[in-house]
Symmetry: D2
Amino acid sequence: MLVVMRMDAKEEEIQGAVRKIEAHGLKAHPIPGAQRTAIGITGNIGIVEPVLFESLPGVLEVIQVSHPYKLVSREFKPETTVVEVGGVRIGGHDLVVIAGPCSVESYEQTLRIAKAVKEGGAHLLRGGAYKPRTSPYSFQGLGLEGLEILARVREELGLPVVSEALDIDVLDQVAEFSDMVQIGARNMQNYTLLKRAGRCGRPVLLKRGMNATVTELLLAAEYILDQGNDQVVLCERGIRTFADHTRNTLDVSAIPAVQRISHLPIIADPSHAAGQRDKVVALSRSSVAVGADGLMVEVHDAPEEALSDGNQALSPGMFVDLMVEIRNLAPVLDRGVPSRVGS
Amino acid sequence: MLVVMRMDAKEEEIQGAVRKIEAHGLKAHPIPGAQRTAIGITGNIGIVEPVLFESLPGVLEVIQVSHPYKLVSREFKPETTVVEVGGVRIGGHDLVVIAGPCSVESYEQTLRIAKAVKEGGAHLLRGGAYKPRTSPYSFQGLGLEGLEILARVREELGLPVVSEALDIDVLDQVAEFSDMVQIGARNMQNYTLLKRAGRCGRPVLLKRGMNATVTELLLAAEYILDQGNDQVVLCERGIRTFADHTRNTLDVSAIPAVQRISHLPIIADPSHAAGQRDKVVALSRSSVAVGADGLMVEVHDAPEEALSDGNQALSPGMFVDLMVEIRNLAPVLDRGVPSRVGS
Amino acid sequence: MLVVMRMDAKEEEIQGAVRKIEAHGLKAHPIPGAQRTAIGITGNIGIVEPVLFESLPGVLEVIQVSHPYKLVSREFKPETTVVEVGGVRIGGHDLVVIAGPCSVESYEQTLRIAKAVKEGGAHLLRGGAYKPRTSPYSFQGLGLEGLEILARVREELGLPVVSEALDIDVLDQVAEFSDMVQIGARNMQNYTLLKRAGRCGRPVLLKRGMNATVTELLLAAEYILDQGNDQVVLCERGIRTFADHTRNTLDVSAIPAVQRISHLPIIADPSHAAGQRDKVVALSRSSVAVGADGLMVEVHDAPEEALSDGNQALSPGMFVDLMVEIRNLAPVLDRGVPSRVGS
Amino acid sequence: MLVVMRMDAKEEEIQGAVRKIEAHGLKAHPIPGAQRTAIGITGNIGIVEPVLFESLPGVLEVIQVSHPYKLVSREFKPETTVVEVGGVRIGGHDLVVIAGPCSVESYEQTLRIAKAVKEGGAHLLRGGAYKPRTSPYSFQGLGLEGLEILARVREELGLPVVSEALDIDVLDQVAEFSDMVQIGARNMQNYTLLKRAGRCGRPVLLKRGMNATVTELLLAAEYILDQGNDQVVLCERGIRTFADHTRNTLDVSAIPAVQRISHLPIIADPSHAAGQRDKVVALSRSSVAVGADGLMVEVHDAPEEALSDGNQALSPGMFVDLMVEIRNLAPVLDRGVPSRVGS
């Protein structure tokens, strides 16, 4: 931490700041400059809030230097974590593709789409049983019935399943029926849910909040790791900006930024970012090229009848084309795309 | 809803779109223009998703016209709702001031600050027992003990109490010990929590999410009203933008925007927006002047020792000055500030 | 400047960084901490770019401490500057109101509106002769003819005139015909224009760019002061955010933020921020209450026939009401509103 | 245009709106719905401002339907434009790479870097002679001398040259010495400069403003085309958002969005978006994969001594690696990368 004194700070104010720092058991390192003095602070800074020094006489501002995350940091664990979901490894050499409908609508719909994405080469099946909807009058998901459908389809096709846990009430249920528990963007700072996810015994897919910085995303993951669960995959899904040509702005640069700081794998969800299917394929290529460890895309075989987010769903045919493009891209990027899995 | 055809759409494409609209039991109203044709749609549009028509041949885009909220809308209930919290009325002629520490830290601290804000003229006491913190290593609140302290202080001073319900596990507890349940900004789209708040039997203070539009804020409130609870007060607390001179950008224009569309009262929280105490008083004046129905501000008598957000807390002396300013402003704005309440 | 070393930086890397700092004639102050070492730098830092040290082995990041502005800073000139425009003083005790049409459309229109705003109590007349328009097919202003109309109206009514200089070609012309030269938001970082405005011999009204930080706004003003012109008034006019209920988000907190750092006066333009007249009065009150030194508002007597931005123009009657509100607010804020000026 | 009436609008208000529409020579198409009536408007809408109808009694809002651009639109010219710069074609099958230093600092530096980027495979040389700098105290470019250096280097190496025209004073100079004139992000809405660029006789590289929507970018280009110059290449270079892990957020989705609406080619500038060299290569891959027609990157052989933006410059070695990656990517994307050009 660095305490920056005002240009006109008096010597006694500087000494006062030094004494105050030392009174907290910390060490003060005054750095007299041409224009002003700054005071470096060392010691057990973790528990010190800047406010301790900000209101002292002669102080201009306090700058925090140390980084707030530990367990998620590459400084603590240099090698990238590989997360294993029902036999599929995320974060290693191979790219992983998660695909499926936005919502589970019926057994038939789910099976049909799951067969199509498996045929296309998807490694994991996604499908929402509990849906966060902006309006209370929109379809809210089939709930437990949806989870049972997913489990049944997994049984039949051998595709591991990812589904969102909307709240702590249903987290255990989702963990029971799915291979990976998703925490959605709107819940990225639902700390109770994060803590429970850290104890749920399943890998977690944590989506970046629409207004979350990379630091906040990593601190949200830190909540999960702090509970003993290091099987966390992050997901960039677009941030909210002034730009109006996509629903959200896919921030591809967050992917190398996360990879530099953290050892956790990170994938991209171009469907939610784009909000329109015609940009999903281009953004998928873009995400893989920037270094994402995988993709999550929505697929529907009758998008115009989908009960949620039909606009952004790829048709099975478009998904097959997408997989062809990803398979072609992968070797150029020194990545692989494993053949389809399951029974 | 309006379906806009491409300039080069063929007559048969226009007819196709009309037939598709009618096939959904809706009525199509083609509007042939100089450059292109648009097709107005009427009927039971509530359940129609734009995607139904967006992928039809010849269609350029689909524009939604109807507004998605009902119960919160001034079109449905013209007069402003007055929410009553322990005898204090929010949304009427009088401005209401909610003040207190960010976190409840101890009985002594809470009582001391509560006495100071009551003395200064606050109408309600705020204090967090459950705290949403970006880092898992920050102070997370005293929990139940904090609620018991609040209840004890309310008993002694007669100030009704507002406290945040961080999740559905503690909502009933918070509702039992407090007079008003706060839903924080990070939880504005925690729909399970909103639904429960709609059935908790207490007035609700709903804070705008850092990246929520006014429409989304109102739809979040709609979740609460839809469960039968119309005692909802909204709160503008700053949005996330590129601007870095305050922690968040207080969007004062959201206040008249909400008041135009909705009958719910709305207050401002300048403390969280500013993030620094030196701007809290100016932003408080600004919020009241734009038409807010009240303020929520943080006060601490030893900010440099506060366990959370000390930077933004007013000292008791600054709070007294603020109340003097608000009392002077109110009559100019045709508002009143009731004398301090309680025993 | 502070060079933060990686946690695993070796002693020789720290020594290497120290030597590199000293090789640039600067002084290095190593601060060994519990987790990592930081190195404070003092000396003539003004000319040093962080990149000098960022790529050294063992360096995590470089943090800049010193502030980049000089002439605009309150550290250099503590007392607030008062800018004088045709006898009207901006930045002193009195609030100043600038009003008039968005565009000068004709002599009759300008005279009519000027009379109305003078009658209502405006101190300066605004009117655009050169208009920055998003589309090339929108009305671009009357140009020189518009300036001549403004000058003629000033002659008749005695109201000093503010008009925008769209580019360096017309800057001298605008300076000749007007009492104050406006630099618009889109030109806030048009550095050639800023430099010329610094030598134009007129006070300058500098509007904040839609995506400018407070630091960038002050550095843009620094360009003008650096050329010898310290008669600069800043103007907050809304920033671009995701919020869609107003055209731009009026960032009222920028006003106290600027006032803390800089000695330059600052006013608000609620018309451009709101984009709709029904919020202009509320945002005007809000701006004055937060501490603005004045307002600039658009007024039109036939908004539905205005050639630009009619949506946001107040009618003369609304302007009179606004002035009544401002006159009532001013004394509560220890400000005055001088009676109307001129012949 | 669509006029949406309030739910409680009276029949006479609807009739009043219809009459008002017709009084402007337009045709009104009332669409009575279940909840409210909307009125479609057709005719010569181009010149109609929404305000004409927004303030009529009973009107809730006015929605614009028609799109404001013409010459840049793919509806008017379906095939993609190919822009030719000194023999290099941008917008066709081949990817084009523009590389060079941020600023021209000396003949030796420019020649050295130009040789390196030519060797690496760049098709065009970039270099700033006039630099827009946030602070007046930063290096502002060598001006005419810089242009002369660029021209001399072009002569020697045969690489066509791109340089920024900072203002209308130097536009002709830049057009004389360069093969392509760049309009920078801060000048994207400098309409006088755009108009002159439309008459300068050179292809134009138009960078997206940091806060510009895709619509505004296209309308800025429309200014240039409207003056008779259709040789315009657009450039995505990052937008300003709350995200702080890169200097700006590279909005890769703008590339397919522009390509859908407009026939103009579009390239990406990952250097300015990233602000740090370690992300430039990843963002370059990402931009090419999303469909960009080329790249503009900064290269410096002594980044730590660069007079501007050294942080983001690639070393010549990194540039060579980047070109290898791009050459590998291109065929997968059905694009080519022509061998190096020139003498």
